[in-house]
């Protein structure tokens, strides 16, 4: 305290101010680089895809065609596949991650916390191709033999929702891809959640416990509201990975340009289509359509994030935070 007072009292040399300015420029430049890279990528992809947009117009978004022979391209199938698989992944990953993070911060004995936390961080470091190969050689046959037939027989017969769950037991398709994606996303979401749960002041939690709250009530009414913003941030991080994941999805999604309601049927995603077809895209329009798909992935991600932000704001308003 006295040292700080001494500095404040002393006449600060001008070089200090200049140093501060340079520092500010430097970090500002770093931040600007992100914005420039983002803008540059989006613009160059929009430019690369201009031929596809000019040729097909809005039909590029609504057409289910993907016919390289007759040069008819439409992005609906990959867009739907990308959104549906990412949605399944988040539906499974968020509750599980929440459970793991709660267990690690509130329930687990101290000696168990570090090993499980490191195991989760290791999971995050596994390359996606490994998940893809595991999905193809281990998980898909399991799905085909045990899960798909059960889903088809029990859920497929139900009215209305049956159409989402009926199909042949291929083991490959939207459901399998969504589950593999969930497993890939869980470590990301979990580690963020765990970090922020640790920041909740223990006096808040202890007060709640003192009032007779159960562990669940503490988690739901103290920990989660306190860390909500950061938790949502962690979920976005996972969602970003799920939307853009390429290799693992290519292996288990089935890569078929068909629009079906059933989650048991194969589909396609934007990233998988680009990875599969770019090398042999032999006409200008074909290549342009693939680049346009890349641009649409940008747009889809942006829209999904925007919707999530809007929902969050509405939630805040309802609770009287904003």
């Amino acid at each position: 305290m006295t040292a700080l007072a001494a500095i404040l009292k002393s006449d600060r040399p001008r070089t200090d101010a200049a140093g501060d300015r340079i520092f500010r420029l430097l970090v500002g430049g770093c931040a600007l680089l992100v914005a420039l890279a983002l803008l540059g990528t989006a613009l160059s992809m929009a430019w690369g895809g201009r031929e596809a947009f000019a040729t097909f117009g809005w039909k590029f978004l609504t057409s289910t065609d993907w016919d390289a022979v007759n040069h008819h391209f439409g992005a609906l199938v990959p867009i739907v596949g990308t959104v549906v698989t990412a949605f399944i992944a988040m539906l499974l990953a968020v509750p599980v991650s929440f459970g793991i993070a709660l267990f690690l911060t509130e329930v687990a004995p101290a000696w168990l916390r570090t090993p499980i936390a490191s195991a989760i961080e290791l999971l995050a470091g596994i390359p996606s191709i490994i998940y893809g190969m595991w999905g193809l050689f281990v998980f898909a046959p399991f799905m085909a033999a045990h899960v798909d037939p059960w889903v088809d027989a029990h859920l497929g017969a139900l009215p209305v929702i049956g159409m989402f769950f009926s199909g042949p037991p291929l083991g490959l398709g939207m459901l399998t891809a969504g589950i593999v994606l969930a497993i890939m996303v869980i470590p990301f979401v979990t580690s963020v959640m765990r970090e922020v749960f640790l920041t909740v002041p223990s006096r808040l939690k202890e007060s709640a416990y003192a009032l007779g709250a159960t562990t669940w009530e503490v988690a739901w009414q103290i920990v989660l509201p306190y860390t909500r913003q950061a938790v949502i941030g962690g979920i976005f991080l996972g969602l970003g990975r799920a939307l853009g994941e390429t290799m693992a999805v290519t292996f288990v999604l089935g890569n078929a340009h068909e629009l079906t309601a059933s989650l048991l049927m194969p589909g396609n995603s934007i990233a998988a289509t680009i990875a599969n077809e770019f090398t042999e895209a032999d006409s200008e329009l074909y290549r342009s359509s693939l680049v346009a798909l890349g641009f649409l992935l940008f747009v889809v991600t942006f829209i999904v994030l925007a919707i999530a932000k809007l929902m969050l704001r509405r939630l805040d308003r309802k609770r009287g935070f904003a």
Binding site: D65, W66, D67, A68, V69, N70, L136, F137, A140, P141, A144, P168, L170, G171, L172, T250, F251, G254, N255, A256, H257, E258, P266, N268, A272, A275, N276, E277, T279, E280, A281, D282
Partner: protein
């Protein structure tokens, strides 16, 4: 100090000698394109380098990429699984010729059916891939296989998800034998498949066919062999059911109508020979007729001449089919008349 400077000079002189020495003796050429031909090209280039000191650097970026690169003039030769039309070649000042032959085989996973036991014809194969035949005990399949007990398993079609010369040859065959396929789907390195799931590369198709009960797909012959997959026999254009093997691919290459094809622009599926397997494929090498760099072009021609005349046993060891003698002669006369060597 003195010592280190002198040693540095000595090192520089040595490096320069090595560099210029190599440049004086060897010319390195580059090529790009088809992944199908990559294993044999890399074997040829290693053997050729050992003999002449000239290195051939080949990048398997895909046929489409190979055509784009040779047209842009960034490589000395391109390689494509799909021939270019004569007018397209003429416009760009290019010439093309086949270098090696391979086969594409239908592979199946049907319970109780041994490899080579199932017989199919082109029309039935097309109907299966169109999704019109849905189960293995369909009368159309049973009619071709009297005495074989076929299960009522659902058929799952497996195709390539990536653009590929294998797909081009396979769909070209289906277009030739089935008017329905030709009008609904057509031929190309990537097509709009009416049904089925897509695997990436030969390995992806092979993995899916092995895993999905009732699966049928198509892979390169070498791939089916190495993975011990069950393949089906196909009825060729002279009505005979043929085993896919090096002999039946060679028969297809020998009986295909090369004489009537300008610039070797011929896809030799559905070849007329009695012993010919109906889906045989080849890779074309594409070169400039008037080379931009005469020295490198000369090496490229020498390399392919050596490959055609001496490299064919190497190709055979990798389960490719050597070009028939008559075709090699035709290619060499094409070189003499078309290229300014």
């Amino acid at each position: 100090m003195f010592h280190s400077t002198s040693s540095r000079i000595r090192l520089a002189a040595f490096a320069a000698a090595a560099l210029f020495g190599a440049a004086a003796h060897a010319t390195d050429i580059t090529g790009a394109g088809s992944t199908f031909v990559y294993p044999v090209l890399s074997k040829w280039s290693a053997a050729y380098a050992a003999k002449t000191g000239n290195h051939v650097n080949y990048q398997s970026i895909g046929s489409g990429g190979g055509i784009a690169q040779i047209k842009a003039g960034t490589v000395d030769f391109g390689a494509s699984d799909k021939p270019l039309a004569s007018d397209e070649l003429a416009k760009a000042g290019l010439g093309q010729f086949p270098v090696v032959i391979g086969g594409i085989v239908p592979v199946v996973n049907v319970q109780g059916i041994a490899s080579g036991q199932l017989k199919l014809d082109g029309a039935t194969l097309a109907k299966i891939f169109l999704g019109e035949i849905k189960t293995w005990n369909d009368p159309a399949i049973a009619g071709l296989n009297p005495g074989v007990k076929l299960p009522d398993t659902r058929i799952t079609v497996v195709h390539r998800s990536d653009g590929s010369g294998t797909t081009f040859n396979f769909t070209d065959y289906l277009s030739k034998v089935s008017p329905g396929w030709k009008s609904k789907v057509g031929e190309g390195t990537a097509v709009q498949w009416p049904t089925g799931i897509g695997g990436k590369g030969n390995e992806g198709v092979a993995a899916y066919v092995k895993q999905v009960r009732g699966g049928i797909g198509y892979v390169e012959y070498a791939y089916a062999l190495q993975n011990k997959m069950s393949y089906a026999l196909l009825r060729n254009s002279s009505g005979r059911f043929v085993q896919p093997n090096l002999d039946s691919f060679a028969a297809a290459a020998a009986t295909a109508d090369w004489a009537g094809a300008r610039d070797f622009n011929l896809v030799m599926t559905n070849a007329p020979g009695a012993q010919a397997f109906p889906i045989a494929a080849t890779t074309w090498v594409i070169l400039y007729k008037r080379p931009k760099n005469a020295e490198r072009s000369k090496v490229a021609f020498d390399f392919f001449k050596w490959s055609l005349e001496h490299g064919q046993p190497l190709a055979k060891s990798l389960d490719y089919v050597p070009l028939p003698e008559s075709l090699v002669q035709r290619i060499e006369s094409y070189w003499k008349t078309q290229f300014a060597q």
